[in-house]
């Protein structure tokens, strides 16, 4: 078992400005751990996490893969989150590299089909649409959860970029909740981008029903025994 990264350097003050790891974070960590052997077998050289928050997920991913075996790039629109990501990296002796950026915008032109492991725990909570724009513009903590209609406004914007980013062998892990209409997400990615997906983990946590989806290119289906 891989221990959860040390977050003891983060304070209550940080968690007023950055999303504190919760069930949705842990379900993603568990899904990555369950895939650890397969992820290592890919020999991933470039990992990219969108919306890294505290940085716990990328730090964990680096511990799975090996800290010098891959490059761990993170974006977050919230500057304080980028700082926390850097601090979590150093606390755990993992070289994660944070950027303050919206989604993967400054990276898309250079990372054509170059990302081996792509990870996104998006703002998935259904809210009014106007709330999403305000939340993203505020570059603060509300941007970590406010998701607009069906909780899909930010995720939808990113889903269109996944095909362009993912390497031929690449995998994309996405956290969703039931209200996001998981079958619709899967069908959209298959029809528009030939990205095949599977629910690799699902779990009820209080009022939320969480799903972790794993997307791969249809030419590169994951065979599970």
């Amino acid at each position: 078992m891989i221990p959860t990264p040390d977050l003891s350097h983060l304070t209550k003050n940080d968690y007023e400005r950055v999303y504190e790891p919760a069930e949705d974070t842990f379900v993603l960590l568990d899904a990555l751990e369950a895939d650890a052997d397969a992820i290592r077998a890919l020999a991933p050289r470039l990992c990219l996490e969108i919306g890294s928050g505290t940085g716990v997920i990328s730090t964990f991913l680096a511990q799975i893969i090996g800290t010098s075996d891959s490059f761990f790039l993170c974006t977050d629109i919230n500057p304080h989150a980028a700082t926390c990501t850097a601090r979590t990296g150093s606390q755990n002796k993992v070289p994660v590299e944070p950027l303050v950026a919206s989604l993967a915008r400054p990276l898309t032109s250079r990372l054509g089909h170059a990302v081996d492991i792509l990870v996104f725990n998006p703002p998935y909570v259904p809210t009014y649409d106007e709330e999403v724009d305000a939340a993203q513009r505020s570059v603060g903590i509300s941007g970590s959860w406010a998701g607009g209609a069906d909780g899909m406004q930010v995720t939808d914007a990113f889903l269109r970029q996944v095909d362009g980013l993912l390497s031929p062998q690449g995998r994309f892990y996405l956290v969703t909740v039931k209200q996001n209409n998981v079958p619709r997400v899967q069908e959209f990615m298959l029809k528009d981008f030939s990205l095949q997906s599977e629910i690799v983990l699902q779990r009820r946590a209080g009022r939320e029903y969480l799903f972790v989806l794993r997307f791969v290119r249809s030419s590169n289906l994951v065979h599970t025994a």
Binding site: A43, S68, F71, L99, V100, R110, V139
Partner: protein, 123 residues
């Protein structure tokens, strides 16, 4: 903290700025050297993703001239160690990255590049 491996992947994404928007020009840099574990397999695997000319330009902008101007065909141990140093051990703690096309300036502060654009600059 931002290193040349990351700089090599960043392009200007301001509205309408789609050509000659890479590499971003590095100026006013404050550097720090921090050792990293040498991993030749990683370097060999990552190198196809590196734009060599951009790396040479950026490394010279921050005062390092150890890498050859032409992309080498053979990667011997010496070269891998130089690459390791330039890509992974030189940290840019402060500085500016300027788009060669539109002139937009992306600041680096406390080792973190801020790539956000103002509302009217977003495509």
């Amino acid at each position: 903290m931002v290193r040349l491996i990351t700089h090599n992947l960043l392009a200007c994404h301001a509205k309408g700025c789609t050509t000659n928007n890479f590499p971003l020009k590095l100026t006013d840099v404050k550097l720090a050297l921090r050792e990293a574990d040498f991993n030749p397999d990683f370097l060999r695997g990552f190198l196809p993703r590196v734009e060599w000319d951009a790396l040479i330009q950026a490394s010279r902008e921050i005062g390092d001239t150890s890498l050859p101007v032409e992309r080498p065909e053979m990667l011997d141990d010496d070269l891998l160690r130089q690459l390791h140093h330039v890509l992974l051990e030189i940290h840019i703690d402060e500085g500016s990255m300027t788009c060669p096309n539109c002139g937009h300036v992306y600041p680096i502060s406390n080792g973190i590049p801020n790539m956000l654009l103002a509302e009217h600059e977003i495509w």
